[in-house]
């Protein structure tokens, strides 16, 4: 099954915290072709900003490495933008709305993210990387 990978999963795979190991598991499964985790240029742009800021420590080259793992990226299309504009009833900002629109435009109903703001949206299930049971199930469903 195809799922969407949020920027925080990529950043947390490269940073020291309890999120590191589960987020690395996601990247490992995608890199090895065992899971169909996809992301978009909009997500990698966020990763790039985090890398460039220097505030997340030594993560030089993270955006380029993430690109190598996730290419081909999901295109952020006209339809994705239209669907982003239609996201209702949440406190999500434009970037997260665009991710939701990208998921919907590609028929993706699951997002892996540490951001609880992406939970509770119609037709989109959030898997928290710290939810070992849900992550195991997602990654075992294959690519």
């Amino acid at each position: 099954m195809t799922f969407f990978v949020d920027a925080n999963v990529i950043v947390y795979a490269a940073t020291a915290s309890g999120y590191r190991d589960p987020c690395l598991r996601v990247l490992e499964a995608v890199a090895a072709g065992r899971a169909d985790g996809r992301t978009s240029p909009a997500v990698l742009e966020e990763v790039w900003y985090v890398e460039r800021s220097g505030r997340a420590g030594r993560v030089d080259g993270l955006a380029a490495r993430a690109y190598a793992i996730f290419t081909p990226l999901l295109p952020v299309t006209d339809e994705a933008f239209r669907l982003a504009l239609e996201v209702r009833g949440s406190g999500l900002g434009p970037a997260d709305r665009l991710h939701v629109g990208t998921c919907r435009s590609h028929g993706i109903d699951t997002v892996v993210s540490a951001d609880s703001g992406l939970g509770g949206l119609r037709g989109l299930r959030r898997v928290d990387p710290l939810d070992a049971t849900a992550l195991d199930r997602l990654l075992s469903e294959g690519g």
Binding site: A7, N8, I10, V11, Y12, A13, A14, T15, A16, S17, Y19, L24, L27, E28, A31, A32, G33, E46, Y49, V50, R52, S53, R55, A56, G57, R58, V59, D60, G61, L62, A64, R65, A66, Y67, A68, I69, T71, P72, G93, A95, A114, D115, S116, G117
Partner: protein, 80 residues
């Protein structure tokens, strides 16, 4: 270098759309199909993906909570 010949069947409608798209882009149908393959499969081979993964595994970044990450991205977008 292209050394592999691939013969595929498409519908008349798909052929028409391929030829129209190739004309618009000023290139051959073959070039268009090769480009579509790259877009669909990505341009990085499996060994390079695993090498990228190992590079990420070797990074030692500093944890920032989700809300701080989002503020950071917004701040970087808008500049100083």
């Amino acid at each position: 270098m292209y050394t592999e010949r691939l013969q595929i069947l498409v519908s008349p409608e798909q052929r028409r759309r391929l030829e129209a798209a190739a004309r618009r882009r000023g290139e051959s149908v073959s070039a268009l199909v090769r480009d579509a393959v790259e877009q669909h499969l990505g341009s990085v081979d499996p060994a390079d993906r695993l090498e990228a993964l190992e590079a990420v595994r070797g990074m030692r970044g500093r944890y920032l909570p989700v809300d701080e990450l989002e503020r950071l991205v917004e701040g970087e977008r808008t500049g100083p």
